[in-house]
């Protein structure tokens, strides 16, 4: 299993992702520069958090035109695993690889805090070792994580079970008080219909060692290691 971590100018969570892949999991790691088109045979491409291209115009608006994103779109089209975290989620929405958009937090504040996520899909490569309705403690760090989609898109997402994570309280109840940014339906993460492209605002790579408060993020990384991807790479 080879992970690729894309680096745009202004990306800040690439090394955190790299640390987890390389040092915590001992998996194979490649950093992919935004100007390169070669995905170097990676089985899963991560678009990490940060402020790609300064978030000028809109979050992710400029990054989506990077050469690497053409390859990422083709890779996703072929069924390759693409995982957008925070700014990566925003880029995937701008690129049209996931529906909807992330707008400014309803409280206008940049929110950097622990959240609880309830997992509603355990049949994806990203969540294969997570229990259904399991609550994960994973932090957020964003000013624009307020998920928006028009009503038809939102009902399509719900009908197809594309919501993977929702902000919840520590017991897993999806309540308004647990929503840190105003996201519709408390949405924290969604997949495309095919299930090979995941976007989420919280940062699993910052919750991968107990020393820093939680290792729940490892469930996602381990899922990728343990899932059907082995078949693809075998």
């Amino acid at each position: 299993m080879r992970f690729g971590v894309v680096v745009f100018p202004g990306t800040w969570s690439d090394r955190d992702c790299g640390w987890v892949i390389d040092q915590v999991l001992g998996a194979e790691l490649r950093y992919l520069w935004h100007k390169d088109r070669d995905l170097q045979g990676c089985d899963c491409v991560i678009l990490p958090g940060g402020f790609s291209h300064g978030d000028y115009l809109r979050t992710g608006a400029i990054a989506r035109f990077s050469p690497v994103m053409e390859s990422v779109a083709e890779f996703a089209e072929r069924g390759g695993l693409v995982w957008g975290i925070c700014n990566g989620f925003q880029i995937l929405c701008e690129a049209g690889l996931l529906p909807g958009a992330l707008i400014r937090n309803d409280a206008l504040q940049f929110r950097c805090e622990w959240t609880h996520l309830v997992c509603e899909r355990t049949d994806t490569a990203f969540t294969a070792v997570v229990e259904r309705r399991q609550v994960l403690r994973i932090p957020i760090s964003h000013g624009e994580g307020n998920y928006f989609a028009d009503p038809p898109t939102l009902s399509r997402l719900e009908q197809h079970g594309q919501v993977v994570f929702r902000y919840a309280d520590e017991h897993g109840f999806v309540v308004p008080a647990a929503n840190p940014n105003g996201s519709m339906h408390n949405i924290a993460g969604i997949v495309n219909e095919r299930g090979n492209v995941l976007g989420m605002m919280p940062h699993p790579e910052r919750a991968a060692e107990l020393e820093i408060g939680s290792a729940d993020g490892l469930f996602l990384f381990r899922s990728l290691l343990d899932s059907g991807v082995k078949v693809l790479t075998a």
């Binding site: 529906p99 958009a101 707008i103 937090n105 206008l108 989609a149 105003g182």
Partner: protein, 90 residues
């Protein structure tokens, strides 16, 4: 040519910035304010095309990059760019 593009959040999109500005105006005594929406103003200078062609191109720019159709509406006007100001001599 010069294009003046205005990008606004769609009416159905919650605009927390606008809401906060509205509250600010209310606290300054502007009680008549019923709604505020905050958008973006973008000036684009284009080389030597007709107004018709410029409009077509700017429309494309808006669709492809300047606005996100999921959350934003756009409108623009196109006109001849004013002649550059002469640098005073002496």
């Amino acid at each position: 040519m010069i294009a003046r593009v205005i990008v606004t959040p769609k009416p159905v999109v919650n605009d927390p910035q606008g809401l906060t500005v509205k509250q600010g105006l209310a606290s300054l005594g502007f009680r008549e304010v019923t709604d505020v929406r905050v958008g973006k103003y973008i000036e684009v200078n284009l080389e030597g095309s007709s107004e018709h062609e410029a409009r077509r191109r700017v429309e494309e720019m808006c669709r492809q990059l300047l606005a996100n159709h999921v959350i934003e509406d756009f409108r623009f006007e196109v006109e001849e760019a004013p002649a550059p100001a002469e640098v005073p001599s002496g």
